[in-house]
């Protein structure tokens, strides 16, 4: 078996955060005797990612996803445990590793705000020691994939959010990293831009065999790109396995959608399952898998239906339940 591209071994990070009460008295107390709180952002997280694998990294806000990414990219030093990317300790910032990894943050940008995108690319080409002719060739190739050939000479501040994110991806991938850490790369983008970014990441991965670890609040990103997901909650690993397995494990129910011929009260459907939507002609129920056949038969017998469909519940809902449950 090939050595893992990414390795997290009992990775933990604890932050000390100063706390202050509001008001004048709180300010005085804070000045005289500062109070700190220990925040265990990540607690003993372990996983391996094979070269070329795409893994979705899920968790609610504050779960420790970004802190884990920061440790894996060498931005912060783990309190304990071991991080390795391509066999190297990322905290040491060895050039050989830095030339092969990148971190894209949807809420932050490296582009130089007042200058055209090409200027940031020139700096990156120099920093990564890519001859400019080669950098131009790569820029053309990536810009075509991202469909932003026309905006590279415009100042960054004049670009739309979607164009900026695409340019950010271009700048982050100019050195053709083998390992990509992506933290909410589609944050705030409209549906078309989200689709374009997904398509691009897929194409990049296929073309260069890159390894991706991706966090996103948009389940569509995860579904489109990742076959495996890692779920963390309150700094602990909850699940690591195939995306389908997550649904199997945490959602022992199916989604039943009805279109009624005549409206019926929501309470009428409570005995069939969990009512997610009802009150008009449309009804959405979550029904336990063991009861599904019986429930469908009863619904057909008791209501006049225009349509009935049975499907897997939306991934968002499954994830929401995992987080609400908080444990495996």
């Amino acid at each position: 078996m090939a050595a893992p591209a990414v390795l997290a071994e009992q990775l933990s990070k604890t932050f000390l955060v100063a706390e202050k009460d509001p008001g004048f008295a709180g300010t005085l107390r804070h000045f005289v005797r500062r109070r700190y709180r220990r925040i265990e952002a990540v607690r003993g997280v372990s996983f391996e990612i094979a070269p070329g694998e795409v893994v979705g990294f899920l968790g609610p806000n504050g779960a420790g996803k970004t802190t884990t990414l920061k440790m894996l990219t060498g931005l912060v030093q783990p309190t304990s445990g071991r991080a390795r990317v391509l066999g190297r300790d990322p905290y040491r910032r060895e050039a050989a590793l830095l030339r092969n990894l990148t971190l894209v943050m949807g809420n932050k940008q490296q582009l130089i705000w007042d200058l055209p995108v090409l200027d940031t690319l020139r700096v990156n080409a120099a920093v990564y020691e890519i001859p400019w002719a080669e950098a131009e060739r790569r820029t053309a190739e990536l810009a075509e994939l991202l469909e932003i050939e026309g905006v590279l000479r415009q100042p960054v501040r004049k670009l739309s959010l979607g164009e900026r994110m695409k340019a950010e991806l271009l700048a982050s991938l100019l050195h053709r990293p083998r390992v990509l850490f992506l933290d909410e790369p589609t944050l705030g983008l409209d549906v078309n831009a989200q689709l374009a970014v997904r398509r691009f990441l897929k194409a990049y991965r296929e073309r260069y065999g890159a390894t991706l670890l991706l966090t996103s609040h948009y389940m569509a990103d995860i579904e489109a790109l990742a076959e495996r997901v890692i779920v963390i909650h309150e700094g602990r690993l909850l699940y690591d396995g195939p995306l389908g397995g997550l649904v199997e494990r945490f959602a022992p129910f199916k989604e039943v959608r009805l279109v009624l011929a005549r409206p019926a009260a929501a309470a009428t459907f409570a005995r069939y399952g969990e009512v997610e939507e009802a009150g008009g002609l449309r009804v959405r129920l979550l029904v336990e898998k063991e009861r599904l056949t019986a429930v469908v038969a009863e619904l057909l017998a008791n209501f006049e239906l225009r349509d009935l469909s049975v499907d897997e519940p939306p991934l968002e809902e499954v994830i929401g339940r995992v987080f609400a449950k908080g444990a495996v």
Partner: protein, 260 residues
């Protein structure tokens, strides 16, 4: 390869600073304080209280103004901002020490500052005929060398203060203390030859007089420049360079990449 990186960084940072040319112009105007001291000392000279003539004071304080302009730094502010905003994260991900970006930021700005200084020099020469005299190639080069060292030392001091952002919420103002010491002991207020001899002897071992007075002495010829200042500047520059390396190593452990 490092040279190629620095060259590109300089070109891009020059372009970046050019976007802020108006701001830089007003910043330079904010540094005209030596001309006020010049007016005061020239008046004292006219009344016969000091050993130099008004024209010599004009020459000296113009040299002080240029020396100050060439040594202006803001690494404390920029680096502190990088730490607090999390922008440092991007630079940590790249195989280049962030210090080089910071240095390129300053040197690129010098490219925008030079032409404005030239214009101010031309206006000054017109207003004070005979005040500016050619110091000779040797003195000009030695003054520039002293000025370059003074810039490097100021840069490392400011960068050290910026690095304190790993520990303190806002450390940038600590640099004001450095500025106050520079104001009083660098020759900005008055030529150091007018200070008591005991003070001059002590100051010789500090970096302050060599930051301004040394290059200004070469350019103005008011007093013979003390070449020992180069050694003192070099030692202090190396000391603060070592301090930046130490703070960088220790501080990185505390970096939480907040906001990123």
């Amino acid at each position: 390869m490092l040279l190629a990186k620095v060259r590109t960084l300089l070109a891009v940072h020059f372009a970046y600073m050019l976007e802020y040319r108006a701001e830089i112009f007003f910043w330079i105007l904010g540094g005209l304080a030596p001309f006020f001291f010049m007016a005061a000392w020239s008046e004292a000279a006219r009344q016969g209280y000091t050993p130099y003539s008004p024209l010599e004071y004009a020459r000296y304080f113009f040299a002080v103004f240029v020396a100050r302009q060439l040594a202006i730094v803001w690494a404390n502010w920029t680096f502190s901002d990088w730490v607090r905003s999390g922008k440092l994260s991007f630079y940590l991900l790249q195989p280049l020490d962030p210090m080089w970006r910071l240095l390129a930021d300053h040197l690129g700005e010098r490219g925008v500052r030079f032409p404005v200084l030239a214009v101010i020099g031309a206006v000054f020469a017109a207003l004070f005929p005979g005040a500016l005299v050619w110091p000779g190639w040797g003195a000009l080069a030695l003054g520039l060398a002293a000025s370059a060292l003074a810039f490097l030392l100021s840069f490392f001091v400011a960068y050290s203060v910026g690095l304190l952002a790993f520990w303190l919420e806002d450390a940038t103002e600590i640099f004001e203390l450095w500025y106050v010491l520079v104001l009083f002991f660098s020759g900005m207020l008055a030529p150091l030859s007018l200070y008591p001899e005991a003070v001059q002897r002590v100051l010789l071992w500090t970096p302050f007089p060599h930051l301004v007075y040394l290059p200004a002495s070469y350019w103005s010829g008011l007093e013979p420049a003390d070449a020992r200042g180069f050694a003192v500047l070099l030692v202090w520059t190396l000391v603060f360079f070592a301090v930046t390396r130490l703070l960088w190593r220790l501080g990185r452990r505390r970096y939480s990449a907040m906001g990123a």
